[in-house]
Amino acid sequence: MTRVARRHVPILTTFTLLIATFLAGSAAYTNFASVGVVRNLLVDNAFLAVAAVGATFVILSGAIDLSVGSVMACTSIGVAALIEHHAVHPLAAITIALAAGGLFGLVQGLIIELLRLPPFLVTLAGMFFARGAAFLIHPQSIGIKHPFVADVLNDQLSLVLPLGDRGISVPITVDVAIFAIAVAAVVLRSTRFGRSVYAVGDDENSALLMGLNIRAARLGVFAISGFYSALAGVVFTLYQQSGDPAACKGFELDAIAAVVIGGTLLRGGVGSVLGTGLGVLLLGLIQTIITFQGNLSSWWTRIVIGLLVLAFVALQGQIAKQDR
């Protein structure tokens, strides 16, 4: 008799839901179970996946980061402005943006750690700050016409899979998202830092008494979240081929929802980026179904996401109760 460890119940639920949703979609709509739909699912949710991976680190450590969406917008407009207005090479612009994102996250972590302020408050301020900064960089959206972005990044580097009539091209953004998930998975699973993130989120006092460097863990997750938010911003910019300071309002909520639906405990300590990936796909699939349905309006997505979050939070509560 194999008994499933309780910590795996949420992620298995997510996986089951994902399969069930996909099957239900395939049964209900013609053309649903097609390579094109799956491709779009990946392409349209790549930036959400990257942002959610960063949020996973923070939530695993038991904290929360509300600045994700604003940092994405700030990076997006920043990269666009650097490329189009300051003639910076796209690769250099992207590097600058990623470094700035990581630094921003680190500063938030430092403020939380040194002043012992609640994470939600500091990152709330961070959300304001980054949003204001985005508009300060440039008040309107900027289309990116740099040849390197259009030709190299978005075209030549796309992977063309020999499927269907003309092949299916998978853009670099999807590769980036998959790579981001893979790196995060390795860091969380197989480095001392990764394990200490789990330990801090699970039982901070024990982690301290077991001699772990909990301060490094708590600072590190915010730096990583900042970096991943910036990367999500870059992916978003490539996807849209423009930078927009007003983009991704409230996007942190989607990221947190994906993390929770992916089976990560909001208290911290349990979860995985693989689960977050599944959570992102599930969110995307729900969106796709609502689009296919046609007569269901888009706001149903928000309600369904809200209910899913509630269900998972309740499930987690039950599991936590059994732990006692």
């Binding site: 500091v122 949003r131 508009f135 008040p139 309002k249 909520l253 706001w299 996401i305």
Partner: protein, 335 residues
């Protein structure tokens, strides 16, 4: 430490935001031409101070409910979404039904109350962390509002409802009166009954309260429900002001402004003592700051940046670490 405390602690916590507000007023007197200009048109006053009051009122109404929630050691992130729901309910009632005006108001407030009860249930009964519990409604609430309005911006021509936020009494816009009346009522209720003491006590040490026979769950359920009603009221004011219900943008980021108003007003995020007056001052301070920036050609979009810096400065001053440092400096000075 020979000297006795000269000031009541409540006055001391008010000192910071009031001083900041005074500073801002002086700055505007000196550097912002026309900041205090008021003119009379069509029997109503127009001008920056009136604008500030009008907008601050909305934040203040939500902040009053938020003050009580934060005093119990919680927080409510869903108020923005609840504002959208209540606005949607009000707009649908006046456009799709012949309901009398009081009934419209009642329906909007009830929608807020129900939303608040949901939050309260999750926090008090299921013992979820407040941030998590209210996050659910924060995510789903706007969807519910859009469901009600069918995703449209519902505009309406309804004399009574649109006059709610667009008329003045004794030169002061009605929303400001509403906020003031609400604050007074809540102030009287919390201080004349035992509610205020219970709220502070639960926020300070809920376990000890349970041991003393205080029904801490009921208190928590009550404050979240009330916070929902406040958000409902703010939703009415907002939809009355723009004569429409916009499920996407009504109350956007209002939860942030409300939390900031409360924190600036001196109520600690860890719960315990609260100051309603402080929250009112906080709401006015935030709105004055915003308006000042607009008048100095800082665009509405960039405005969050300086706001964030202001918020961090205030929080830093109130953080336990800095407080201890300052206290340490003083005790060394007097020793």
């Amino acid at each position: 430490m020979g000297s006795e405390k000269r000031f009541h602690p409540a006055i001391m916590t008010l000192a910071w935001p009031v001083a900041a507000l005074a500073l801002l007023v002086v700055f505007n007197l000196a550097f912002t031409p026309g900041f205090f200009g008021i003119e009379l048109r069509d029997g109503r006053f127009f001008g920056t101070p009136i604008d500030v009051l009008n907008h601050a009122a909305k934040v203040a109404i939500v902040a009053i409910g938020m003050t009580l929630v934060i005093a119990t050691g919680g927080v409510d992130l869903s108020v923005g979404a609840v504002v959208a729901i209540s606005g949607a309910v009000a707009a649908m009632f006046v456009t799709r039904s012949q309901a009398s005006f009081p009934l419209v108001i009642l329906a909007a407030l009830a929608a807020g109350g129900v939303a608040g009860l949901c939050n309260g249930f999750l926090v008090a009964r299921l013992r979820l962390q407040p941030i998590v519990a209210t996050l659910v409604l924060m995510v789903a609430g706007r969807g519910v509002a859009q469901l009600i309005t069918d995703g449209l911006i519902i505009t309406f021509e309804h004399r009574a409802l649109s006059s709610l936020a667009n008329t003045a009494f004794a030169f002061i816009p009605i929303p400001a009166w509403i906020a003031l009346a609400l604050a007074t009522a809540v102030g009287l209720f919390t201080r004349r009954t035992a509610a205020g003491m219970f709220v502070e006590a639960v926020g300070d040490n809920d376990r000890a309260c349970r041991y003393a026979g205080v029904n801490d769950r009921a208190i928590k359920l009550g404050v979240y429900a009330f916070c929902g009603v406040c958000a409902g009221l703010a939703g009415l004011v907002e939809c009355s002001y723009i004569k429409a219900a916009d499920a996407n943008n009504a109350g956007l980021f209002l939860e942030l402004d409300a939390i900031l108003a409360v924190v600036i007003g001196g109520t600690s995020l860890s719960g315990g003592r609260f100051s309603l007056t402080g929250s009112l001052v906080g709401a006015i301070l935030i709105q004055t700051l915003t308006k000042t920036m607009y008048m100095h050609d800082v665009s509405a979009d960039v405005a969050p940046l300086p706001k964030a810096i202001a918020v961090l400065a205030v929080c830093t001053l109130q953080s336990p670490v800095v407080k201890d440092r300052i206290a340490g400096m003083f005790s060394r000075g007097s020793a």
